[in-house]
């Protein structure tokens, strides 16, 4: 009897929902829209080449929850600076930890396949702790060495986005113990043998990256070509 009564209630709720289904008031946060809207705030001169660090800084400076932080960081390519379509599938990669040299495995959201290779070869990961609106969290971030004193700083990258003279411009990008943070490393863990096998067996992170990462810089054509590599090597 009680079951029947509950069933009737459910039907009633269903019908009421159906009745007002033409009125759509969804309050779910649209992370992608936020980045599209603020794009010219993040890149005032419209040059987003290799400017993942600008996205990271823009996001970490927001007064947001940890969940929001993670979601925003899925929507740009840390290597190229491109926006990434929502609900994209990440690549499973391994990257060395800066401090220990241990291999850390995790997900990387990239715009195109060469970026995964460049990431694995030219970045290291570091632990970072941050107080969000709701919680204090420790997580791995993708980092590159301070590029500001490079004599061959890539011309197609806006230097003022990154550098204040030979120093990392702290008001523009995130400086973590002298290294520049270019993005968030998602769903991280210490790699085990099986994880490494998975990365090596993958057509992109395995065979393709082997070829790309053994190609001389001047012969690279795909992806961001030499722009990010010149910045990060």
């Amino acid at each position: 009897m009680r079951l029947l009564r509950n069933f009737k209630k459910l039907i009633l709720i269903f019908l009421i929902t159906l009745t007002f289904s033409n009125i759509s008031i969804s309050e779910e946060k649209n992370y992608y829209k936020d980045l599209v809207t603020d794009w010219s705030r993040i890149f005032p001169d419209n040059n987003r080449n290799a400017a993942g660090p600008k996205f990271f800084k823009y996001i970490i400076d927001k007064d947001i929850s940890y969940k929001d932080f993670v979601e925003y960081n899925k929507l740009y390519c840390a290597v190229s600076g491109s926006l990434i379509d929502p609900n994209s599938t990440p690549e499973f990669v391994n990257i060395n930890e800066e401090k220990t040299g241990k291999k850390i495995c995790g997900n990387y959201y990239r715009c195109c396949v060469p970026c995964s290779c460049d990431l694995m070869k030219y970045t290291t990961v570091k632990k970072m702790k941050h107080k969000f609106k709701d919680v204090t969290k420790e997580f791995y971030v993708l980092t590159i060495d301070n590029p500001c004193s490079k004599k061959d700083f890539p011309e197609r990258v806006t230097k003022k986005y990154f550098c204040d003279g030979n120093n990392i411009a702290k008001d523009q990008v995130y400086n973590l113990d002298g290294r520049m943070v270019i993005g968030l490393f998602h769903n991280t863990k210490l790699c085990n043998d099986n994880d490494i096998k998975i990365v090596k067996a993958h057509p992109v992170t395995g065979e393709y990256c082997d070829i790309r990462n053994n190609t001389p810089l001047e012969e690279l054509q795909a992806g961001m070509g030499d722009i990010f590599i010149k910045l990060a090597r």
Binding site: L12, L15, I16, L18, T19, F20, S21, N22, I23, S24, I25, S26, E27, E28, N30, K33, V36, T37, W39, S40, N46, L83
Partner: protein, 480 residues
Amino acid sequence: MKINITKYLKKIIFLCCLILPNKLYADFFEDLTSQIVDNPKRLSYGVSVTDVNQDGNFDFVVTGFGYFNLALSYEDGKLINIVDEKIFSDEFRRTIGVAACDIDKDGFEEIYFLNTDTYSGTKKYSDRLIDFEGDNFVDLFEIEKNKTDLNLTAGRSVVCVDRNGDGAYGVYVANYGGPTRFYEYEDQKIVDKSVQLNLAKVTGGRAVVAGHIISNKMDIFAANERGANFLYKNNNGKFLDVAYEYRVEDVLQNGRGTALSDIYYRGRLDILNGNWGGFHRAYVLKDDVFEDIAKPTFDDPTRIRTIISADLDNDGYDEVFMNNIGEPNKLFKIMDNGVLEQLSLDIGLEPDGYGTGAAVADIDNDGVLELLVSHGESRDQPLSLYKAKVDANHKYLRVKPLNKYGAPARGATVTLISNLRKHSKTIDAGSGYLCQMEPVAHYGIRKNEKDIRVQIKWTNGKTKTISVKNLNKTITLRQK
């Protein structure tokens, strides 16, 4: 047993009461397309509303892309094309944008036809600027002295701008892949003043609106493609692009349908801006910066073309009609506090419609707006005509401002002030996308609304307020 039946009957009635209002929403419009006499499939684009034959009544001007430009006049319950003069109908020049305003200060509006025979860059045929002289239509651009500055760049929309507030209109031409133009009558000659006025930027021009946006004179908002939008602040008749400062540059989106609308019913014009396959914006000014308050489903990306903000059902709240191409149209109602509530559409949904333009006007003078929708681009389709099913108890007030020359005061702002709202509307200078609405502020009256006054802000920024005693009429106000 009897009690049980009564109990269930009550429940059924209760459920019906819940479901019924939803079903009523489904038929917001009635279809009046059959009123259009001779309505074949064609490729149409922009639609404007002006008094083509100077008989005191507004007509729909419908552009044709390889088809005739039409002037649809309301006669005996029908919409009939009243112009067949070649200079006007001009099926070879491929017209897409249209706007009308009084450029020569004679009290009557000229019609600017923007022709585009190529997607971008240099085009073959120039635009037309049609004047009705005597009983004939004349293209002012075909007069020898006016040929020095012809627009030979592909374009999209046009908007009229009385930049000095003196009743002398110019026309802003949103070009694509070439510099923007701004045509004015000066010393009996039509000249392009875009360089002098800081408007000659090269972009992918799409939609453009003008009115009291951020200053007390006519400002311009241009929604562009493959580049930042422009927000030109009127600075003593010249213009300064402040889109970045006001946060409406929206670099990554490709602008389309745009309209000025008082989204908060607070007595100022804000901006509705549709983006092609991108997020549609509802920009409201807060602390000298425009904030986009659009939420799903309003901001959901669509193949948007025209956007119209108007009170179609005379309930005192504006609707927003989104005309999409190759996908269903959408209709929203702007509720209090900027809530954009989606309404169900059945008639007017046009799931297979290739909408390219639309305009509203009370073409039959019954106090309810008609909505004319044009179609084309990649599929030839006839025009559609709709009208909201209006509650017989709903009252209306129409305000028609004329400038000191007796011409429609396009770009002026009318504000209805009452115990319930302060509701501004622009006298449309060009909007939607490629289009222009009737130069009348049309208000439905809300339930329990009283103490109604109307304020008009003229294009020179000066205001005048009058009390309204009688409703269901059109008030004509003449600038002194």
